[in-house]
Symmetry: C2
Subunit: 292 residues, 2 copies
């Protein structure tokens, strides 16, 4: 039995990014970790059916990570026992021309899960205080009134954006969306190994983009932005979890474990009952069918 608590990974007080571990030492074998993942995701799949039947809450699961952080394969593994009916994945790439004609939160709002369902954001609305903060010139494409040059993008601009994101999350949380945010934390060294693996294996080549190396050079700037994100937006109703992700199996198991632990707290999520009036008629319905 692997026994961990989601509290160990939750960001509840100001953090320094370089103090967040990328490795989580476990005594268990890799096989045991995978077995624990399998059991956990099965239970999660069961809870998801109840969430669907109950039909009042929605769940938003956010994933952020540096390139090669393992988001895609983690999502595949953690949500394996979900009914595809109950979960929608949204991979947010560069905004389209149409999306840029809306405010930056619009495409995320539109993609929110409906009641009874999960949405997985693979990259999230936090890219709006991350990649655009590392590359402020991208903001200009958003055509925000008053933002005519990168000189207009000052500290107050980012403060406002954090406030807007916090308000966005508070609004949806107050209306029944459960929010969980995961940062898959890999070390710069581990990223190097993973990029080299892509380059070394001809059949993995296509995943490589020279842009990956350019962004890697900005590693420290990204880390600074992440630190700000965690310290400004980890809230009780929308917490950040920093997941040591240098080992993929461990990261998958931890995310599944946290999801399960958090969802189990919602003891009011139960299958609905038939209204009493209808219940009283069941014997009649049965008779009707039996004579059919």
């Amino acid at each position: 039995m692997i026994s961990i608590s989601s509290e160990q990974f939750k960001i509840t007080a100001p953090v320094k990014i370089n103090q967040l571990p990328t490795v989580f030492p476990l005594e268990e074998s890799s096989r045991k970790i995978v077995n624990h993942l399998k059991k956990t995701r099965k239970k999660l799949g069961g809870l998801q059916n109840t969430l669907y039947a109950h039909g009042k809450y929605a769940v938003l699961v956010c994933f952020q990570a540096m390139d090669t952080g393992g988001k895609d394969s983690l999502i595949r593994e953690v949500f394996k026992d979900f009914n595809v009916r109950g979960v929608v994945n949204h991979s947010f790439k560069s905004p389209s021309a149409k999306e840029l004609r809306h405010n930056y939160l619009w495409r995320h709002f539109v993609a929110l899960p409906e009641r009874g369902k999960y949405a997985v954001f693979n990259r999230t609305h936090y890219e709006n205080v991350l990649i655009t903060r590392v590359h402020p010139e991208y903001i200009l494409a958003e055509n925000i009134p008053g933002i005519e040059s990168v000189n207009d993008i000052n500290a107050a601009f980012w403060e406002k954006r954090f406030e807007q994101i916090n308000q966005f999350e508070k609004t949806i949380a107050d209306n029944g969306t459960i929010i969980l945010k995961f940062f898959l934390n890999i070390s710069k060294e581990e990223q190097k190994h993973r990029l080299l693996r892509r380059l070394d294996k001809p059949n993995k080549n296509w995943k490589f983009s020279p842009g990956d190396l350019k962004e890697r050079k900005l590693w420290d700037t990204y880390m600074k932005c992440y630190e700000d994100i965690f310290n400004k937006t980890s809230k009780p109703h929308a917490p950040w979890y920093s997941i040591p992700a240098d080992d993929k199996n461990t990261a998958r198991m931890l995310v599944a474990n946290i999801l399960l632990e958090e969802m189990q707290k919602y003891t009011d999520i139960v299958e609905p009952e038939l209204p009493d009036k209808l219940k009283a008629q069941i014997p009649d319905y049965i008779k009707q069918l039996e004579n059919d």
Copy 2:
């Protein structure tokens, strides 16, 4: 080894609905059938990754069935080894007020899969020549010019609708969407058992709606409409498969088997290669990373 061919289930010539089997006799044990399903869906999951990487084709998988036909659980089981990133489920219920302000195909068009992905339609655009045909008064809510009363909804109206649906599918097929349409064929007797099970088990009660019994009375009308659907809209680029569905495991295994067989025909779906220009630079990139 279970050996079946998708051709056995494909509708390629005019059919009589009551000649389509609801039972598919297999000598294999239930355990073997489930094992075959598991192996097949694993392979499907692998192909789906390649479809995603290739990024040119999309796949639309349509499911229709009478109530209790087993669509939901079949979708859960068949797509279990898919990455949620690559498949989106759309359960089409009664159209919303907003949807009714568009033409009937709009909400289906909007839900089509993007290149590299699967969309599963759980109930489909065929409800527009099915439930609305059994209950023509529903058509009036669509506010179609010239359709003022049910008397305006004549044979020509339905012919035109079939033509529109065929054209819709031809257009998307010509532009790279692979279309597969499954009818889960249960007997009226089997539906009776399944409805009774819902009523007998208190924890299944909530799935029951008195409407189910009302629609059951219209069984023969539905069957007549389905027959028309198959005979008018099963095309080489968008075939209907009639799946004997009285046994759930068999139905799941058959659908997975057909999907796999059909997808394997697309031998041009392969992982992309890095452009030659980039490939030539790989040694440089590796050196750059190694010195990092």
